[in-house]
């Protein structure tokens, strides 16, 4: 991992088209501004991790789960 030290107002440029700026620092919270093309997805890491976990849970649907789904449809 590359570590760079920046002050408020300073930026980092990634590839040619992503710029991250330190907007403000308040206590232990840092506000980051990110300028990037809309074709690039940007989200808090926790969101990515949660979505990965959900996909893994879905992919591991048990036989009982699949059967429950079939039964649900039968009732519908």
């Amino acid at each position: 991992m590359l570590a760079l030290t920046r002050k408020v107002g300073e930026s980092i440029v990634i590839a040619d088209n992503i710029e991250i700026t330190i907007i403000a620092i308040t206590g232990d919270q840092i506000k980051l501004g990110i300028d990037a093309p809309k074709s690039i997805s940007i989200h808090r890491k926790e969101i990515y991790l949660q979505i990965q976990e959900e996909n893994k849970a879905a992919a591991a649907t048990s036989e009982a789960g699949a059967q429950a789904l079939k039964d649900l449809m039968g009732k519908k």
Binding site: P37, K38, S39, I40, S41, H43, I47, Y48, Q50, I51, Q52, E53, E54, N55, K56, A57, A58, A59, T61, S62, E63, A64, G65, A66, A68, L69, K70, L72, M73, K75, K76
Partner: protein, 152 residues
């Protein structure tokens, strides 16, 4: 061609129904080929299955959210979706992934990260929507009960 599946044994599929996910899906970024399967008929079926063609045990249940949640209108940048081809809304199918825990009343769907498939280009991707209002775990059982009641 025949493929092995997690819940349906050996299934004969049409190769031109295979959807290419260039980036895979979250948590499974090495799996690039999936097919949408239905248990029984496709018409009117509330559930679909995203089955990996490369890894038989990876099969994710999905719903078409428009059928279940009429107001579901996620905000996704066009530039992001253009990865899977031209943005003809008629060609795009939207699904959300379902998690079925031991107690079916706890079943949820991920409205925050839907699967988008372009039927024309046969490409797909999973996107994270911009809206904060959609949950990663949105209870589906409650919605099912509402729909049943409405139908009565």
């Amino acid at each position: 061609m025949e493929i092995l599946t997690r819940h349906f044994g050996t299934v004969d599929i049409e190769e031109d129904k295979i959807v290419g996910f260039n980036e895979g899906i979250f948590g499974f970024d090495t799996l690039k080929k999936f097919i949408v399967l239905y248990d029984g008929a496709e018409e009117g079926n509330p559930f679909a299955w995203l089955q990996s063609v490369e890894e038989k045990d990876v099969c994710l249940p999905m719903i078409s959210p428009m059928f279940w949640f009429q107001e579901y209108s996620p905000d996704v940048d066009d530039e992001l979706i253009s990865q899977i081809g031209d943005l003809d809304p008629q060609a795009l199918d939207l699904y959300t992934i379902v998690v079925i825990p031991d107690d079916i009343k706890d079943m949820t769907t991920n409205l925050k990260a839907p699967i988008i498939i372009n039927r024309e280009t046969k490409k797909g991707m999973q996107v994270i929507v911009n809206d904060d209002v959609y949950d990663i775990k949105h209870n589906l059982y409650e919605q099912l009960e509402k729909l049943k009641k409405a139908g009565e």
